[in-house]
Symmetry: D2
């Protein structure tokens, strides 16, 4: 069935313009003035609305296994919640256990994701190293549409990648045309600080941010950037949360290095006072890594986004319920790390970004979809309203408003980090793969409707990198 | 007559793709695969070629009056030379004498420009201040398609704008939705250094760069940026030539300020050793302001372009002949300032930028046309290959090469700052307003074919600025 | 009469050590272990106390004429209050009206200062320019012990020095071996913002900081630094109050430029919330320029002091009473600018600097006396406890504490910006010129006891500057 | 026997002044005008000469064992060469093999050093970790006068300290009041680059700098600084050779962190063109780590020294002969790393630093002795000309000149990295421990004359650090 979106203001990364948008067969067929509606087309009146590419959340953890349990949102409920918030694609993570085959883990996650209501793809984590990892990276890129690999610089004694793994994996990614990405925190320092805090009897959730101060993140970001610089690879830093890591990215970019930064809606808008809440459940509900930071860091992150030193916005959506969080009741290091946000990301960003003049609507599109699509090489299939693109579209009412709450959210779980926040600027309709899946509060997500997104290697930047004078 | 460009690789700022391009009536009618040729259409075989938006040079001085003479290239020969190099639009400067009416000067320049072979527009300089200037700025924006004003921070006792003029004019521009631009050099310091050098008997062209050291430019850039910051206006800094002014822009952008930087092809590729040439004509032929800099500055400028802190590339095309340059034979401060480059800009940039891996082809399009079109609010009429855009197109042979020389240039004048440089990557065809005006070395420019480009005020960034929390 | 200070811990800029200190004839005769007391010597038991060089406040305005009135503290009461706080020398300012002879103004101020209770010297302001100013600068340096000149970059239509004056005066200072200093605020911006605020009906003291945002200061600091850089002169920036101007200094110093920064005790410890006080007298009591800033700037200033990018601490002591402040009751631009602090500076700095671990005691001596003495070339006469130095000494009880208040201050006037602050670390004895002038709360200042401090030109740094490769 | 130095200009870190200097019993007895010569005193006429504290070289490797051989200069010849150059103290390194007891290694080195002609001390390297290392660090500090520990971040598979060792050792050093120091290069990257270069057939000494690009050093410096920041320890970075690591130090210092930087005379004055020499012996003679860098890095290092972001100058004196260097004839990674310089350091620094105006004579004293003495807590025993200090003195003829060469050097070995350089400014007399050991070219060094320098822990900065608000 075709859909004609009539009379809206299309917003792409490069401009805004008045146009109708016609979708059919899962694709955008035409974008233009006064388009004629095909017979049987559903017509959506978009007068007064913005028509934007559906959001892409490049950082989610749906259905993540954790100590015998699993996060609240599975691939269906999580992607459905995304649709309710205008997000039509996610890139989730395959995280092999050390010694586990990457291919095995990949297929496991692929299986879990089949129930997704929206399109999805996977970064694959490199958590250990041997020849099979080297080989599997090749297989994943060449045969399975993976073009990015994740490295955790924290989580000592678990999935931490030390410098040896980093240099080997970054080198391998480069030859495959794939993007190395990092969770940047110095695992040794985190470990030491955790031990000290526990020894001092600081076992509550308020000790969590003390165990991961900004410099711990700044160090790791700087290190990963230096490694990428020496090896002449690009780099993508996930969840940049503080001035220190942003500073490292900013300096690298100013010297011409191809480094990209992701920032979470939460880190932009929530400060570290949440860890002082007297109730464990409230404080623990905000435990994630990197932690929320003081307000001056938020100001820095917004500046990074405005100045083009941060490129994508994500959520690290990873929802644990109160019972799961309670596993760390007596020891903050045992609180499962994670918060939600996939449903609220775009509203929070519009409200705090566009309404304040920090971002134009086109810049909003850049940081919610277009940049991500370009960095991970799925543009213009995703990230733009143009003929030929996937029909992933959100209609946006800049005057509409809503109060965010766990009580009204579609996401599962019993906690909402944006609880009580009233935002102005909300999605009215979401179209995913050509289907109207969300309409004015009515969510019509269908399990299994989402498709796996093949992401080809060797985006344009690799061509340029290969010409660069290599260090050696 | 229609033109079908067949089989090329279209390069836009956001991506490269295989497509045919059909032009008619001065516009691009369609971009797509396997387009059918209309009857009578001229078909250009673009196999193996890039198809890119025609270049925009946002900084030229054609037909500039100078002490009773005029520069070598008038609006016809200058724009024609541009077409031969793939540049299809210019933004030139209206420069009123102090006390001269802005409207009077504007109409004078408009008259001179009627013979242009390619599209043109004008920044208007604010060289003095009274109520009439305030009023004329409004008239120019509202009735004449001007959306940018120029301020010379150098040239004391002539057209220099002091801080009082800057704050008044920037404020006025903001309320009109127009962009303030600056030539950033501290005029007092230049004046003092010139007097000192002459007193010390340093009167030759090698004294020219000594009278305008990088810090002189850095200071002025920083000052203009600070004023724009306090007044909450955007700012465009012309011909950024050194690390100091680039640093000021980079810091401002990293803090979220909407500052834009222009860099000249010459400053990117020519160093200050040219002023040491023993022949006056050679050294004087390179006298322009800011002067060419040492190699470390060139490296910094490239990094600025790569990292997105510089946005446009221009030429400051302003050609004086040997006889004119000789007016400063005994006193370097009397050498008319100016060099050419409109014909060579895109080739030089491709060769030194794309061939080295500093820029992808899409980034090349950004810095040669798309960014300029967006900043000066003529996008998507200019700066993109898309249906509806002006048919200003250059076909590019990345394998072709050419040795640049005054002997073979179309530009008038007797000097070429790129003399002897062999570049790889050259234009094979240029289409301007739907006409094939340059074909494999054959220039078919027509006087008066160029149209005046109306530039509307209030680009998207002004909407965001108006929402920003203003300093007061 | 001689004084023997027995059993204390001497603190100099380079180290702390146990020693007795013997003074006679206004000088320190000996510093050593177990010194023998001369007959008739007064013996001070310094067990448990620090023995430090008396403070030097390089920025005061005693007895400043203002619209027919004069500030509350004259040279006697002001210097006496300094003695009560451990400060034994000041450098005040001679501020000629435009067109007034520098020599005439200098002699006027010298006359006023004869009643000083402590040693004093003068920076002379260059507020206008002609040949007589050029000549008088020479006379002041060569015959009157002046080695620094002040330039106000703010106060348009009054004493503002524009770029032309700056370049001429800095050049002149260099050839005389004297230090140029600046009050860094862009006068044009301040003027424009003041007019705007008044037009918008914002006439209260809360508008004062809005008329002088940090960037206004940062711009001017950067400009003065650039001018000094180009002219190869040193530079001293008075009352650095914000991250922007500190940043400019920090960058210049990192590139090897000889730039020095002064910070006020008030700017380090008081934030801009004071301007929100509902009572005019309270808010107006804090009106000074640059204004107090938000807390993040204070943090930056402390870092600047710790890292060696700020060198001296001062007060800008300039006390107006409530009646005088009330002149701006209906128009904040008419509120006389100025606050006190000479009495409290060292206590506030010790409490907020040494007690917090930001500074060692030796670093405290650096920033309260030694650095100032070196920069203004009166070291080791001032700024060190050593044989041969002036007997200007403060004994310090690191365990003593005091609550600062207008009720108990020696300084005249009816306002104290540190009102109610309890500090730990207080002076117990002050010796000035060999006299015990303050003892455990008992102030024994004598009018006319202070001597004029001749400051010779050409400190060591001028020797180095003369060898530097000059820009031209 | 006593020595009276008459009529010279004493240069200390804080000032220059005319004074005689009287030495006896290994100490300076008096500094003053017109001192009377004791009976039998040797009188040195210092008219026209500077009288400065003897240099301290905080980074030497005398008599270093290497693959069954040992470096050319043993503790006698090396310290004697230092005396000929005006350097009267060294701090060398005890480098235990992994698993070797720190105490055992310490005593080994102490034994070797007994023949020293000048005073000496030892940094002890932490090259591995277990409880005995933890305990031995305590013993060394409390019983053996060690107050600094060294960590090699490079040399994988040998003495490299990974992050786990760094965090443990830095923490331990803090509680002992000792300074952590680092050789900052990322060992994983060096290893990878070495392997790649060898695989590509790049086995000559010109590959050496390619295996250790500046970013490899910058990364490690930044990492060590971040660890020190989080653990609230001071940090001393040895042999800073490039803009990247200097930048990390500069940023840390600007934020108030107590980080110190050492720079080698060689890195300041020799560029990386030396590795292009066609003769193996010449190129290999310059192989050390970090390698010599391009000229822009040298400019940055000078700026760091001028601006106070680098504090000490050293040599990393470690001399291998041609035969030893030839061990890497076919594989650059086997060339023993090291160059000389202890004899030339002060001359090279004076010539390139003081003669150019980069440094005043007092600043020269700061960076050749006083800062080092303060950082390593042996001030004022060392680093100042003052009564009570050790009689370690150099007399300096600013007008004298000399051409440096292996042919005329006192240092052993067959290579001089400063070969052929003519310097202006040379030592005429060196007094070490009260003995005139060098006089106008005549070296009278005595084996065993040097004493071990006990360095007490808990310098003043530790007091401040303990008050700082600790991260946790
Ligand atoms: Zn993470
Ligand atoms: Zn995650
Ligand atoms: Zn210009
Ligand atoms: Zn121009
Ligand atoms: Zn002031
Ligand atoms: Zn003042
Ligand atoms: Zn080393
Ligand atoms: Zn070493």
């Amino acid at each position: 069935m075709s859909i004609l979106i009539r009379g809206g203001t299309v917003v792409n990364a490069d401009r805004e313009f008045q146009a109708d948008v016609l979708c059919d067969g899962g694709k955008i067929l035409a974008v233009g003035e006064q388009l004629e509606a095909p017979a049987g087309a559903e017509i959506i009146d978009a007068a007064g609305l913005y028509v934007m590419p559906g959001g892409i959340d490049p950082h989610t953890h749906m259905q993540l296994p954790f100590m015998g349990t699993v996060t609240q949102d599975d691939f269906f409920s999580g992607t459905a919640a995304g649709l309710a918030g205008g997000t039509t694609s996610i890139i989730d993570f395959v995280i092999p256990d050390p010694q586990q085959s990457l291919m095995e883990a990949f297929h496991l996650w692929r299986g879990w994701a089949e129930k997704s209501a929206a399109d999805y793809s996977f970064h694959v984590a490199v958590t250990w190293w041997d020849d099979s990892v080297h080989a599997d990276m090749g297989t994943l890129v060449r045969e399975h549409g993976v073009n990015s690999f994740k490295h955790f610089m924290a989580y000592k004694n678990a999935i931490m990648a030390d410098d040896e793994i980093l240099v080997k994996s970054f080198s391998r990614a480069l030859e495959l045309g794939a993007m190395p990405t990092v969770h940047a925190e110095n695992g040794e320092l985190v470990y030491l600080l955790q031990q000290r805090l526990l020894q001092e009897g600081k076992a509550g959730p308020d000790a969590h941010p003390l165990s991961r101060p900004p410099m711990v993140e700044g160090e790791a970001a700087q290190r990963a950037i230096a490694i990428a610089n020496v090896l002449n690879t690009p780099l993508y830093v996930v969840h940049v949360s503080c001035a220190e890591s942003l500073g490292a990215i900013t300096r690298a970019r100013a010297s011409g290095q191809r480094v990209f930064g992701e920032v979470l809606a939460g880190h932009l808008t929530i400060n570290d006072s949440v860890y002082q809440h007297p109730e464990f459940a409230q404080a623990a509900g905000h435990v994630m890594s990197p932690p929320f930071r003081s307000s001056s860091h938020q100001q820095a992150l917004w500046q990074g986004l405005q100045g083009g030193n941060l490129h994508t916005t994500a959520t690290d959506h990873c929802t644990f319920c109160a019972e799961q969080k309670a596993m760390g009741k007596d020891n903050f290091t045992k609180i499962p790390n994670g918060c939600g946000g996939i449903e609220e990301r775009m509203m929070v960003l519009w409200d705090a970004g566009v309404n304040t003049g920090r971002l134009t609507p086109s810049e909003f599109v850049k940081v919610t979809s277009a940049n991500c699509a370009q960095i991970f090489n799925i543009y213009p299939r995703k990230g733009v309203i143009a003929a030929g693109a996937d029909a992933d579209i959100v209609l946006w009412d800049a005057e509409g408003s809503k109060t965010l709450s766990v009580k009204t959210q579609f996401s599962k779980g019993d906690f909402n980090v944006f609880e009580g926040r009233t935002v102005k600027g909300i999605p009215t309709h979401t179209i995913s793969g050509g289907q109207l899946v969300f309409k004015e509060g009515d969510l019509r997500a269908v399990a299994g409707h989402g498709k796996y997104i093949q992401r080809p290697p060797f985006s344009a930047m690799f061509g340029a990198l290969s010409k660069m004078h290599n260090a050696i």
